[in-house]
Amino acid sequence: MELKLFGVAKDIIGSNKLSITAEDFATVGELKQWLSQQYPKLQQLRSVAVAVNSEYAEDNQSLQNAYEIALIPPVSGG
């Protein structure tokens, strides 16, 4: 499955999408944890929103029926 990347997450991960196997992660929280281990710079963001199937998802949400996941960091430019 494709993880859609936005904002500075694109720069940190170096692409606008990342291939992942959703079955490897039971919840949004587990996915976030894995991502911050792979890309430690993501931790500096402190708050990163995850959307599952185009809806904002909290850490305890299951990824079982996920067909689309997005990683949305805060953006400050104006």
Partner: protein, 384 residues
């Protein structure tokens, strides 16, 4: 409502707004609401430019303009409100002149100052709707928090390189339910060096034109009540791949402002908090740098990109941030080493990396980067 019904238009105004009034969903009633509205625009830059132009043109009766900054040549690539004659002028004042010339029927008020925890409540409480186009997290969290504490709808937009976000926060719907706000999405501000600003990361000039226009659209919809707003939805436009996304967002019980157990009950400047991670880094002023250079041998390193070095430099050794780990051997471990970039955030990042991964203890960050150095020590050099 009665008061709004009594708002009248001169023949000139009726002619000016005739294309609005001709819209069946809009009519005189919506135009009256616009004329009765007070909108505060925080930040008169990239997003503020189209926002102010379209709100003024649309006939929003009173517009407040907040910006502490002055127009710089490097703004003109995207801040279409200004031209070369405005360089050096206060943005809020120059912007006011432009929108008054566009529509003399509106009232304006200028706040040529920085929005802070001390003044935000007093300024924002005078307005019905707040639109934020600032370029930093400190002000964004401040505007969000003030709007939630004062029950004001907050039209949010932000940009990064080729990508823009828009939403409407803290808006009460017809059932009396309050929609989500910025802290539902991002409860805590990021570390200061984590997300670069437009000056550091670059931005495609047309992007704020598009996103700021969408922000104006949402302001107009909130005021007039037409259509469906972005309340409860976050819109993201990736212009590079021309992909639009809309994400449903919702209130979060853990929101520190208006969740089930609020911990923020008054405004706080998030600056010292935001900068907690950066506090341990040693920093020097441009004046200190000059004093040091006169008395001892120090190494000065510029972590910007080569094209920036070409625009202006202060004779430092150029080691772009992304090449720094390959150049560890060229960084002195005995004498004082000062790192600088454009405005201080990339050099901070470099120092954090060098201290953490390579054990350096002799590094100093030049406060405010080459821009502050030019302002304070070398005004003849080119700013960008």
């Amino acid at each position: 409502m009665n008061v709004i019904n009594q708002i009248t238009f001169s023949p000139e105004e009726l002619s000016r707004y005739s294309r609005h009034i001709a819209l069946p969903q809009f009519g005189v009633a919506a135009q009256q609401k616009l004329k009765a509205a007070n909108v505060l625009v925080v930040g008169c830059g990239g997003l503020g430019s189209p926002l102010l132009l379209y709100l003024a043109a649309a006939g929003v009766g009173s517009i407040g303009l907040v910006d502490f900054d002055r127009v710089d040549e490097s703004n003109l690539q995207r801040q279409v409100l200004f031209d070369i004659h405005d360089i050096g002028e206060e943005k809020a004042v120059a912007a006011q002149h432009k929108i008054k010339a566009l529509n003399p029927h509106i009232n304006t008020r200028v706040y040529a100052e920085r929005l802070t925890a001390a003044n935000a409540m007093n300024i924002i409480k005078e307005y019905d709707v707040v639109a934020d186009g600032t370029d930093n997290f400190t002000t964004r969290y401040l505007v969000n928090d003030a709007c939630v504490l004062l029950n004001k709808p907050y039209v949010y937009a932000a940009i990064h390189q080729f990508e823009g976000q828009v939403s409407l926060f803290n808006c009460v719907n017809n059932d009396g339910e309050t929609g989500p706000n910025y802290r539902d999405l991002f409860p805590l501000p990021p570390a200061p060096e984590a997300v670069p600003n437009c000056g550091e990361a670059g931005v495609l000039g047309v992007l704020p034109g598009i996103i700021g226009s969408m922000q104006a659209l949402e302001v107009i919809k909130v005021i007039t009540g037409i259509g469906e707003t972005l309340s409860g939805r976050l819109f993201i436009f990736d212009t590079l791949y021309f992909q639009t996304n809309i994400f449903k967002i919702k209130r979060n019980a853990d929101n520190p402002l208006n969740g089930t157990h609020p911990t923020i009950t008054q405004l706080i400047d998030c600056e010292p908090f935001c900068n907690a991670a950066a506090k341990s880094i040693k920093e020097i002023t441009p004046q200190q740098l000059k004093d040091w250079q006169q008395h001892e041998a120090i190494q000065l390193i510029d972590v910007r990109e080569p094209y920036e070095y070409e625009i202006v430099n202060m004779g430092a050794q150029l080691i772009p941030l992304n090449t720094i780990t390959n150049n560890i051997a060229t960084i002195d471990r005995t004498k004082k080493v000062v790192l600088h970039c454009k405005s201080g955030s990339r050099s901070l990042q470099a120092i954090q990396l060098l201290e953490k991964e390579f054990g350096f203890t002799n590094l100093y960050n030049l406060q405010g980067g080459i821009l502050q150095y030019i302002d304070e020590m070398a005004p003849h050099l080119t700013k960008y």
